[in-house]
């Protein structure tokens, strides 16, 4: 299970990568895509939407179920990954790079200090897997 060291994470399994001072990229983690299974459809937010941290910004449907994507930070939707409209399964094959979901422009980049480090996230999914094993 890949957990890139330089990313930040949420407990709802989104990842965040800082691109520039006030721009971050958001996606869902390798762990999340694995749990969802074959992804068949993605709903994306509109460009320019103002989003609050914790607010729903998208939906990801696998063959089995629908799951929501939440904004890890507050800001404005600056870019959406149009590739996902034609090929949503790229989230399965490359969740941390090609399978990114949105870019959010933030006013205060300090927000990301509240998110989990890679080590913390790895601990979280380790714990979840253990619960599964019971």
């Amino acid at each position: 299970m890949a957990v890139p060291k330089d990313y930040r994470y949420t407990d709802s399994h989104e990842w965040v990568r800082i691109e520039e001072d006030n721009l971050v990229t958001v996606g869902i983690t390798d762990y999340a895509q694995e749990k969802l299974g074959d992804i068949v459809s993605v709903e994306l937010p509109r460009l320019g939407d103002e989003v609050e941290r914790g607010e729903r910004i998208g939906m990801i449907d696998s063959q089995k179920a629908s799951s929501e994507v939440f904004a890890p930070v507050s800001g404005v939707i600056a870019e959406v990954n149009e590739l996902l409209n034609d090929d949503p399964a790229v989230i399965n094959s490359d969740p941390h790079e090609e399978g990114w979901i949105v870019r959010i422009e933030v006013e205060e980049i300090e927000q990301i200090d509240d998110l989990m480090s890679a080590d913390d996230y790895e601990e979280l999914i380790g714990r979840l897997d253990e619960e599964d094993a019971d």
Partner: protein, 368 residues
């Protein structure tokens, strides 16, 4: 083991699923495989070759005694008296309100012996209802713990069943059954199913289930046989607009609303729910269950609202990306007259967007 499976029961085929790499999940009190290699591939296997399903979680009830037929006839909405021995009858069982207690298949062995297969999630409720309604007129026996059930479905299924259970199985017409011997065990093989494909369902005592399962896998190698999980079972039935209890039908919906009015024989004599269903038929339906195809992307899911313009006209009961058609499809109740084929309805995707969809004549998938 998978999440949340502690305290759940195993079917006689549990070890076979684990060995085959099945992803095991809790379902209706049992641990069952949701998928093996993937829902789309398994779906395709059933549409083009043959697949095996472990449906041992289903319940089996036997009505026995001189008044067995009359008793069943009074409980179910379809006409079991009109069926010959050796025939199977799909039927709802209704409350006095016309709401559906469960849908099931009645296998008529003889007038004094009727074997009924009910939904796993309802089996305890059904058994209590049967006993109450039978009121001592005949024996009602819960055989659920004795039987495993294997569904063999797909264009190559009749060939596979004939190879394993005998040539006479090949000649069975749809909704018929035979008692056969499999290595000393009494099995019932029936030409029923939940996929829209030819084939059958085999009721087998638990002790012989694994041997039968593995014999079918072995004998069907050249026919493209493989095990199928619950995920593909759901996509296959949905493409046929076969109702799933708890999703598409329940105690608040009637068979007339669900589009299975052909299973309600108002002229057969008295049965539970008849008055309410007769009244509903006379007054006309206010809503009905439709099949629809989404134009573009967006997967409909249980309970998503359905709109015509600004007005909510119903809700989704089941939805998926149809593996056979490659487009999102769904079932849902809509107010009359929006149930007419060709009507454009909008699926509210949890407030993200509304995806336009078109009501179509079922089934969604038609065999080539």
């Amino acid at each position: 083991m998978a999440a949340g499976t502690e305290g759940q029961r195993h079917t006689a085929l549990f070890a076979d699923h684990v060995r085959a790499g099945g992803r095991m999940v809790p379902f209706a009190g049992y641990v069952l495989p949701i998928q093996y290699q993937g829902i789309a591939a398994e779906h395709e296997r059933v549409r083009t070759a043959v697949g095996l399903f472990d449906v041992s979680h289903m319940g089996e009830v036997l009505f026995r005694g001189p008044k067995a037929l009359a008793t069943v006839q009074r409980i179910v909405t379809n006409d079991v008296a009109a069926a010959k021995p050796g025939k199977a009858v799909y039927t709802p069982v209704c409350l006095p309100t016309g709401g559906i207690v469960d849908d099931m298949i009645v296998y008529k062995e003889a007038d004094d012996r009727l074997f009924i297969c009910v939904n796993a999630s309802n089996k305890d409720k059904d058994f209590r209802w049967f006993v109450e309604q039978a009121a001592g007129e005949c024996e009602v026996l819960d055989l659920s713990d004795e039987y495993a059930q294997v569904a063999v479905q797909g264009p190559n299924a009749p060939e596979l069943l004939a190879r394993v259970l005998g040539e006479d199985v090949r000649g069975l017409k749809p909704f018929s059954f035979l008692k056969k011997d499999f290595r000393g065990a009494d099995v019932i093989v029936a030409t029923t199913g939940y996929t829209g494909e030819p084939g059958g369902e085999v009721y087998v005592p638990n002790g012989a289930a694994s041997a039968l399962w593995n014999r079918l896998l072995e004998a069907g190698k050249d026919l493209g046989v493989g095990p199928i999980g619950l995920g593909a079972r759901d996509t296959l039935r949905l493409e046929m607009k076969y109702c799933l209890y708890g999703n598409d039908i329940d105690e608040t919906t009637t068979p007339l609303e669900a589009g299975i009015g052909w299973t309600v024989k108002l002229g057969k004599g008295g049965f539970v729910g008849r008055d309410a269903l007769l009244k509903q038929q006379r007054e006309g339906l206010k809503r009905s269950l439709v099949a629809f195809v989404v134009e573009g992307k967006g997967i409909p899911r249980h309970e998503y609202p359905l709109f015509v313009g600004d007005r909510q006209v119903g809700h989704v009961t089941s939805g998926t990306l149809s593996p056979s058609l490659g487009v999102p499809v769904g079932l849902g109740y809509v107010d009359v007259p929006n149930d007419r084929p060709g009507t454009v309805i909008d699926v509210d995707l949890k407030g993200m967007r509304r995806a336009p969809a078109r009501v179509v004549e079922p089934p969604l998938y038609k065999r080539p």
